[in-house]
Symmetry: C2
Subunit: 214 residues, 2 copies
């Protein structure tokens, strides 16, 4: 009841060290597991030489741990370069760079794919990852807006932005990356995205690319 103040440096450091150990163990587990089902807190805790309850104390839940792992991977994923892409004078070059950045990110750690899988079994975790994709979403919207000519309708711009968003998604990357290196996937997606934006560019608005209307 006396609530004496207590600020421990040593214990806090030990705690964050242990927390980091759990995150790394979880990432390793995700990398090696063939299915997200195999990812259990019991196994992770054992691998990190920690009690399962400690994981709960540190991360709150299974979802909390997964989010922490994703954020850890994202931190190393050189996503900061997005600023570079947005600062590019030519928005076409900016889009090219954005595509490269995300291809390299999706391919940077096999655990990313498993985390992506976790979205399908946990709606709240899916929401969390969706929010972390908002920056990609906005960046693409902005680049498309900067590229688009006057004649391009709002609907056309939205269609192009959505297509580019889908092309630069983790799901798309995984489908193409099964049989080829990251650079090759990046080239394919870049070509597809360029073809898409060609339709709303001011220069060649007159059907350089075939229109779907019969």
């Amino acid at each position: 009841m006396s609530r004496r103040s207590y600020v421990s440096v040593a214990r806090a450091e030990a705690a964050t060290e242990k927390k980091e150990r759990v995150i790394q163990a979880a990432a390793r587990f995700l990398r090696e597991a063939e299915s997200i089902t195999a990812f259990s807190l019991d196994a992770v805790a054992k691998a990190a030489d920690v009690t399962r309850l400690t994981v709960y104390n540190q991360f709150g839940s299974r979802r909390g741990l997964l989010e922490a792992v994703f954020d850890d991977i994202a931190r190393r994923g050189r996503l900061i370069r997005l600023n570079e892409a947005m600062a590019e004078a030519d928005p076409r070059k900016g889009l090219d760079l954005l595509i490269t950045i995300f291809c390299e990110f999706w391919g940077s750690d096999p655990a990313v794919a498993r985390l992506h899988d976790a979205m399908t079994i946990d709606p709240e975790f899916a929401q969390a990852l969706l929010e972390r994709n908002e920056r990609r979403r906005h960046s693409i919207d902005e680049l498309v807006a900067r590229i688009a000519g006057e004649q391009a309708s709002a609907a056309a711009r939205r269609d192009v932005a959505d297509l580019v968003f889908a092309l630069t998604s983790c799901a798309m990357f995984r489908m193409l990356a099964e049989t080829r290196p990251v650079a090759a996937v990046c080239a394919i997606i870049t070509d597809a995205a360029r073809a898409a934006i060609a339709r709303i560019e001011p220069e060649n608005s007159d059907g350089l690319v075939a229109n779907s209307a019969p």
Copy 2:
């Protein structure tokens, strides 16, 4: 031990009728569930007014039931039109039709999305669905081969075929279908696929679409 012969028509009919009822209940459940996690044999059995054990007797396992549901949806999905698409004299028109067919199929039943989700938690079920996608794979390969000009390298053809395969996937459809009707999704994917195959068409092989090389 006497093994007297016993061929019951009425009982067999009642069994298949019950089996159908279970499949429909499972499909309804998948449609309404917000996550594949909510799909439990217990709930399905209860909804179908059947014991959980009956489900096991009929389908062997959870996976077996899911496969049965998918096959049931596929049967109604007018995928037979694929023959029509492949019989088309102009392979470009064939590809357009293929895209339409699959867009309509992916959009035909919300349960399809949930079944797609089930792939991520059950590797063996994923394998089963992958095999069911082989026909799409081969059809696209053939159409691309028929469209491709002499000058197109094998690698370029493979890249285009893989891209079209990814564009016509369930995952791609779902990403684009969140905010627009099926027909609009179909138009976007058709445009993207046309732009992709333009690169290997015999007529305009000289960079009508920008190349990714700097």
